[in-house]
């Protein structure tokens, strides 16, 4: 017994529509200071492509598929890991100078350059 988890046809289009709307709304009204960190953060999020690469590589049955799949995972892993490292460093600048204390004031004003 097995379930079919794949999503096709109009259900997929509905998911695309809702996800696109969600992305648009989430980013709306963001202060200009966060433009670059958010670009970097969304860059990290599309690093999920590594999962697609893993699926392709694990199901590879020819040498050509293995080679291309290898590069898919390699590039996807680079996207995810590098995107995280860069975004984390950018956003660390928004943290307050005393990390142990609870945030109670505006953090943006404490950002060091």
């Amino acid at each position: 017994m097995s379930f079919d988890f794949t999503i096709t046809g109009f259900v997929a289009l509905h998911i695309f529509m809702l996800a696109g709307f969600a992305g648009w709304v989430i980013i709306g009204n963001v202060p200009a200071i966060l433009h670059t960190p958010l670009m970097s953060g969304s860059n990290f999020i599309h690093g999920i492509v590594v999962v697609g690469g893993l699926y392709t590589l694990i199901n590879a049955s020819t040498t050509q598929e293995q080679v291309i799949g290898f590069f898919a995972v390699l590039l996807g892993a680079g996207n995810a890991a590098g995107g995280y490292a860069v975004t984390d460093r950018m956003l660390a600048m928004f943290k307050s100078s005393e990390p142990a204390s609870k945030p109670h004031r505006s953090h943006a004003s404490k950002k060091k350059h």
Partner: protein, 316 residues
């Protein structure tokens, strides 16, 4: 039973990852919560990657002889790509961040293009719509990859001057149409069974080559100062390509994450262009120097002198 459990685990991990990506992105859009947002998204990513190794429990019999090699390659690729990019991202100077984002984005586009390539070479598409969608993802992913590499080279100082040649827009248009034409030919030949002149896989190589060349040509004339907007566009492109490949593979986490990034990246591009007082079309299709010269050739209106103390009242 084991395969069912694996499928359920993969499905649940992807659902959790998709939620954490959305929630993390929401937290990243406010300065106070931004740092925790990326952590949440990171947890989602790790969960999705670990769960995807469960695909080994659910493979075709024809793949079994290759499985050990495939898993070795997967671990090797994860280690090399992940550790290499992680160390590079940690070490790089704060001022060099934008080009790092560009190169990582190019990697994502390349990965999406590679997945599409496996689907195309393996002839996995079952009908016209799936083939067209795969080709579209391949096109966007390849453009995003080569374009991002050029953006990186410009910001890194490898390419110093914008390369502008006469009637560049026309050449770019012709190259783009050529890519579309080759894609159309691949679809037509696959569906009708007409003799394709070259083999279909040769046409697929040609298709990827033209798409990569278009990405390079499109980015070369744009000056370094406009690169953040361009990187943001390619970020949206990669998101779109990832979403499309998610559709091809039937993976909802890829679909959601890719489409969210596609839409968010588009809005970010518009916001960034607006902050520069430029339109996106202006950034992409005109040469910066030319437009300034043309606009400010004649100044109209009258000049009035005023004291500094009056300026505040004047501007009220």
């Amino acid at each position: 039973m084991l395969t069912l459990l694996a499928q359920l685990t993969i499905g649940a991990a992807n659902l959790v990852a998709a939620f954490l990506f959305l929630f993390g992105l929401k937290r990243m859009s406010s300065p106070a919560t931004a740092a925790s947002g990326i952590r949440l998204a990171g947890i989602g990513m790790v969960a999705a990657v670990l769960a995807s190794f469960l695909y080994v429990l659910n493979i075709d019999d024809s793949v079994k002889p290759y499985l050990l090699m495939n898993i070795t390659l997967a671990l090797l690729a994860l280690a090399i790509g992940g550790v290499g990019a992680w160390l590079a991202g940690r070490k790089v100077a704060m001022t060099a961040m934008p080009q790092m984002v560009a190169i990582y984005n190019g990697m994502g586009g390349g990965a999406a293009g590679a997945i599409a390539a496996v689907e195309l070479f393996g002839n996995n598409a079952h009908d016209a719509s799936q083939l067209i969608v795969t080709l579209l993802g391949a096109l966007i992913g390849a453009i995003s990859m080569s374009g991002s590499v050029i953006a990186w080279a410009k910001l890194q100082g490898v390419i110093n001057k914008p390369l502008r040649i006469k009637s560049q827009q026309i050449i770019n248009g012709v190259v783009f149409l050529a890519a579309i034409a080759v894609a159309g030919w691949i679809v037509f030949v696959t569906l009708s069974g007409v003799d394709p002149l070259l083999s279909i896989s040769s046409w697929t190589y040609i298709f990827f080559a033209i798409a990569l060349i278009f990405g390079i040509l499109m980015t070369l004339p744009i000056g370094g100062a406009d690169m953040p907007v361009v990187i943001s566009i390619y970020n949206a492109f990669t998101g779109l390509a990832v979403g499309i490949e998610g559709f091809v593979l039937g993976n909802p986490a890829l679909m959601i994450a890719g489409m969210v990034v596609g839409a968010a990246g588009l809005l970010l591009t518009l916001l960034m262009a607006k902050a520069m007082n430029r339109s996106v079309a202006n950034v992409l299709f005109t040469n910066f120097g030319d437009i300034v010269k043309a606009k400010h050739s004649a100044i109209k209106g009258t000049e009035r002198e005023t004291a500094a103390s009056n300026a505040g009242i004047e501007m009220r």
